[in-house]
Each structure stands twice: as structure tokens, then as C-alpha cells.
């Protein structure tokens, strides 16, 4: 254990040579900032999506034909509601409408609480429509006719993760916009009160309708997790590449700096510092540099993601053509932050200690004479 005097002197020497450490401090902060931002966004989106899935019914049924989603008629609701364990089946109308003027896709969702001539729109849709001066009403053009609808209100910002590209319409209006028949549904929400029955019910649905896809809540949750693991994984690979490049640069830079500082190390050795003391000195200095760079990187990432809503980076995760005004819910995974610390700060220290040790063991008598 080093004395307080030693630690204070190491920090004094660090501040004397602060310019030598500036490069590694800034680059390391930036790498930690990028990775932490990615993890914060990923965790926040995952959390919000998982919460929205948790509020959905136990099974979502979609019909497919030629590998694409295909509408279902009333008969599906009747048959599925007869399966033992099913308490309710709700038909849902949703689909995508191409807004040619802006070359964007709107997510049309049926909502029975709305009147036939009104709609609720998400923040991104509102912005896209406003650019073409659709502030009070909007016209949907289908093959047969033009549908004029009042913009009733804008979906609250807190729901932007799911509502950004959404247009909520009365189900029949939605059918008209999507070109569906009046007894058709895009999805069915199947409620199963007993969690142990969910798997069986899902299998029975597929038995009755082999072309249907029954997605349980558990399946949906794992799909979201896989999606974000995949995106997070790509960033992790990029991070590792960046980190390795950084450490190679760091080693070269530190070797150069310590080479220039050889005389200073020799002076300290002549004053009674042993090799272990020199290594401890450099260890303390670089711990201060790397830990403060790490903390700065994490703090900057927190501000960037949760206060400024991660401009530029968020589009990679949200993948929407619409400008997304989503507010990220602050979610922090302490384990992941610890992992960044472990794979960032520890190699950082290892890479800088080696050149210090090499110089500390070299012949000091010539260096002090020069």
C-alpha cells in the first residue's frame, strides 16, 4: 500500500505533464462515450418495447400467404374463441400506407374509440404532414377514392417509441385506407388467462389454420431481445476494433512520451524510487487518467442520450424513415458499465505500464549524466 504522500506526488507529476496524457484521455473518453451511448439507447429502447409487449395480450395471430401477412375474416375469430382456455379474441386492423408525396410509410392502426372521420397521429407523422401543410386534416388517396380525415390530436411524446409513424383511425376507415374488406382483420389479439395454457393454445391455432402465425408474448420478447443483441453486437465488434486500434496507438504514444521522460524517471530512481515505485507512480497516474476519462465518457453519453435524445445515433436503432422525436427512458445496466470499465480501463493500464517498466529497468547512470 502506497503512502498518501506518494499518491499526492504522483498526481502532482501527472498535472505537470498533463499535455502528454491529453491525447489518451480524449480518445479513451470518446470511445467510452460511443459505446455507453449505444448501450444506453439499446437498453432504453429494449425496455420500452418490452413494456409495450407486456401490455399486449398473450398471443398475436397473423395470417400469411406466400410468406406475407394476409387479412383474416370473422371466421378466424369465431374458431379461435372456441379453443379451450381462450377468454377473448379481438380483431385488429393495421397495415402500412405509402405516403407518396414524402416517400414515407405510415403505420395505420384501427382504433374503435375514434369517429370515422378523425384520426390521431404520431409525432413523426405530424412533422411529415406539416411539411406539406396538412395541419388540420389529411387526405388519403386510395385506388377508388380520396378519404378526407380531421387530425384530432397528436399521440403523446411518451408513446413515441411505438407511435412515431402511427396513424390511428376508426377500424372501418383504416380498412378503407388499407384496401381491406369490412369483415377483415390484419391481426388477432388472443387473451389466455392461464399462462400455462398459452403454449397449447398457440399450437391449436396453428393446427386449425396452418397458414397462421401465432406469436406468444414470450416469443415477441425474445425477438426484441435478439434484435437489440444483434445491433448491440455489431457495435460491440466495432468497439473492440476501435479499442484495439486505440491501445496500439496508446502504447506507441506512451513509449514515445516515456522515452522522452527517461531522464525524469532516471532522476526519480537516483532519489531512491525503485522499479516498483516507478511502476506504481505510472499506475496511479494512468488510473487517474483512465478512470476520469471513463467517467467523463459515461457522463457525456448519459447527457447525449437522455437529455439530447441521441441525435444521429438514434436513427440507426429506430430505423424509421420519419424524423423520430422519441424521448429515451433513462435505463442503465450497471453490469454492462462495469464490463466497459473492465475491458477499457484494465487494458489501458496494462498497455501503459509496460513501457514504464521497460524504461525503469534500463541503465539509469547514463540518463542522469546527460
Amino acid at each position: 500500500m502506497r503512502s498518501k504522500n506518494f499518491v499526492e506526488y504522483a498526481i502532482l507529476l501527472l498535472f505537470k505533464d498533463k499535455n502528454d496524457h491529453l491525447f489518451s484521455f480524449l480518445i479513451f473518453s470518446f470511445i467510452v462515450f460511443i459505446l455507453s451511448s449505444t448501450l444506453f439507447i439499446s437498453d432504453s429502447l429494449q425496455e420500452d418495447l418490452l413494456n409495450s409487449i407486456k401490455s399486449q395480450p398473450e398471443i398475436v395471430v397473423e395470417n400469411t400467404r406466400a410468406g406475407r401477412a394476409y387479412a383474416m375474416h370473422d371466421g378466424f375469430i369465431y374458431d379461435i374463441s372456441k379453443i379451450t382456455g381462450v377468454s377473448n379474441v379481438e380483431g385488429i386492423v393495421d397495415g402500412y400506407h405509402y405516403f407518396a408525396q414524402k416517400r414515407l410509410w405510415f403505420h395505420i392502426i384501427g382504433d374503435a374509440t375514434l369517429a370515422k372521420d378523425e384520426m390521431i397521429i404520431g409525432q413523426g407523422v405530424k412533422n411529415a404532414m406539416a411539411e406539406l401543410y396538412y395541419n388540420e386534416e389529411f387526405h388519403f388517396f386510395t385506388e377508388e377514392r380520396m378519404i378526407r380525415l380531421k387530425i384530432n390530436k397528436i399521440a403523446p411524446k411518451s408513446t413515441t417509441i411505438i407511435s412515431n409513424d402511427a396513424v390511428y383511425l376508426h377500424p372501418n376507415t383504416a380498412r378503407a385506407v388499407l384496401g381491406m374488406e369490412m369483415d377483415e382483420y390484419s391481426k388477432l389479439y388472443v387473451s389466455v388467462p392461464n399462462p400455462n395454457e398459452v403454449g397449447n393454445v398457440s399450437l391449436k391455432i396453428v393446427e386449425i389454420y396452418p397458414s397462421a402465425k401465432a406469436t406468444t408474448k414470450e416469443d415477441a420478447i425474445s425477438a426484441v431481445r435478439h434484435l437489440y443483441y444483434y445491433k448491440g453486437g455489431i457495435f460491440m465488434i466495432l468497439y473492440v476494433i476501435a479499442l484495439v486500434s486505440f491501445f496500439i496507438l496508446l502504447k506507441n504514444q506512451i513509449s514515445l512520451v516515456y522515452g522522452e521522460k527517461k531522464k525524469e524517471i532516471a532522476i526519480l530512481r537516483s532519489l531512491g524510487f525503485c522499479i516498483k515505485d516507478i511502476i506504481a507512480l505510472k499506475f496511479i497516474q494512468n488510473t487517474v487518467v483512465s478512470v476520469s476519462a471513463y467517467l467523463l465518457g459515461v457522463a457525456m453519453a448519459y447527457i447525449y442520450v437522455f437529455m439530447f435524445n441521441a441525435p444521429y445515433l438514434r436513427n440507426i436503432f429506430l430505423g424509421s424513415e420519419l424524423e423520430n422525436s422519441i424521448s429515451f427512458t433513462p435505463v442503465i445496466d450497471v453490469n454492462l458499465l462495469f464490463l466497459i470499465f473492465l475491458f477499457g480501463v484494465v487494458p489501458f493500464l496494462a498497455f501503459v505500464i509496460l513501457p514504464a517498466w521497460k524504461i525503469a529497468i534500463s541503465d539509469m547512470s547514463e540518463a542522469v549524466k546527460s
Binding site: 504522500n5 531522464k263 530512481r269 537516483s270 531512491g272 524510487f273 525503485c274 547512470s365 542522469v368 549524466k369
Partner: protein, 225 residues
């Protein structure tokens, strides 16, 4: 028992290479406690190498160096560093100060290896600065000091741990006559404090100084009469 006893000391540089040469050849020397010894000789005669070996900065190729009866030539790094820290005060020709730090912070360096209280540290630094007559410059960075002031800062740092042995390598080579005479005054203070002092120099200013006990002449790594 002598304070320092050197027996059959050799230092070979670049062994097993075509440019191998002996910097010291079969050196035998005894120095008593509180003795002030001048090593005289031209550049390359081996004076600095001998100081480095006595100070534990380098290891001899063969022979032994007994300081207080302990062979410092065989000490591992941690013990030879501790020996330098506690027993030796180095004064170099080029001062070897830590640039960018103040006089006080330079003198503080050896004390950073101790667990002394702030008060004890301040007292030691003040005493060392007073001995070297540099306390009025304690807050100035060493870069802004004159050559003589830098030398006095280096002297204060060398004595702050109150070592028994002071090793000075060409201490007046970079000083004008006035500052060189000031160094002689400090040397007298060392004598009064019963320090063992070894100075490697070819400065004639040290000739016929009554504070000096012995002159040892060196040439080509050997003592000459």
C-alpha cells in the same frame, strides 16, 4: 571500520562486444566517516562511473563496495533503491531537477516515499532549503531559476533525507565563480554536519581548500599517485 570500502572494483562496458572497455580497473579505496574526498581527473577518467557505483545507480562488473559494512554491489533493486533513498544524496552537474515543478515540489520528491506527516515534511524541506539558502525561491518553478539557484535547489533535494553520504558529480561545471564559491561554503556546512562527501571534479577551485581531507587522482579508470 571505514564508511566506504572499495575492493578490486572493475566496471566493464559493452562486455563481449568489439567496443568493450573498462571504465574502472581494479579500484581499491577506503573513505572514513565525515571525510571529504575529491576525485580529480580529466573527462573519461572514470570519476562519474565510480560515483554511480558508490551511489548504487549501476552495478560493478566485479569487486565489492562496502558501505557501513554492507556490500551494496550485490543488493537487489528494491534494497539498492532504499539505500540511495536513505544513505545517499546526489548532486549532478546538470542539476537534474524535475522541470515544471517548483523548488519546494522538487525538494519534496524523496519525501514522497515516506509516510511522514505534512508538518514533518514541511520542517525537513524548510531545513534543507535553509541549508542551501534557497527558501526565498521555494514557490518559483525551477525553469525560472538561475544556474546557481538551480544548483542550490538540487543541493537542498540531496540533503532533505539527511543522508550520511553526499555524492557530487562536477557540481561547479555549470556555475560561475561566485556560485562555485557559494558551493564551497555549502561544502563546509556538510563538513560541519559530519557528512561523508565525495566530489568528482576537475575544477581547480577545489584545490587547497581546507575543508577537503583528501584528493584522489584518476586516469583511464585507475587511481594514479
Amino acid at each position: 571500520m571505514s564508511k566506504i570500502a572499495i575492493t578490486n572494483l572493475n566496471k566493464l562496458y559493452n562486455p563481449n562486444k568489439p567496443n568493450a572497455f573498462y571504465a574502472l580497473k581494479n579500484i581499491n579505496l577506503s573513505i572514513e566517516e565525515a571525510e571529504v574526498v575529491i576525485l580529480k581527473g580529466v573527462s573519461g577518467s572514470g570519476k562519474s562511473t565510480l560515483l554511480s557505483l558508490i551511489g548504487g545507480l549501476a552495478k560493478p562488473s566485479s569487486g565489492e563496495i562496502l558501505v557501513n559494512g554492507q556490500n551494496i554491489a550485490k543488493l537487489p533493486d528494491i534494497m539498492s533503491s532504499s539505500y540511495r533513498h536513505k544513505e545517499i544524496g546526489f548532486i549532478f552537474q546538470s542539476f537534474n531537477l524535475l522541470e515544471g515543478l517548483s523548488v519546494y515540489q522538487n525538494i519534496l520528491a524523496p519525501l514522497s516515499l515516506t509516510s511522514l506527516s505534512k508538518e514533518a515534511i514541511n520542517e525537513k524541506v524548510s531545513r534543507a532549503m535553509s541549508l542551501a539558502n534557497i527558501e526565498h525561491k521555494q514557490h518559483q518553478t525551477v525553469g525560472s531559476l538561475s544556474g546557481g539557484e538551480r544548483q542550490r535547489c538540487a543541493i537542498a533535494r540531496a540533503v532533505v533525507m539527511e543522508p550520511e553520504i553526499i555524492l557530487a558529480d562536477e557540481p561547479t561545471a555549470n556555475l560561475d565563480k561566485e556560485n562555485s564559491l557559494m558551493f564551497i561554503d555549502i561544502l563546509k556546512k556538510f563538513k560541519a554536519l559530519h557528512k561523508t562527501v565525495i566530489i568528482a571534479t576537475h575544477d581547480t577551485l577545489f584545490d587547497d581548500q581546507n575543508c577537503i581531507d583528501r584528493y584522489v587522482h584518476m586516469r583511464d579508470g585507475e587511481f594514479v599517485e
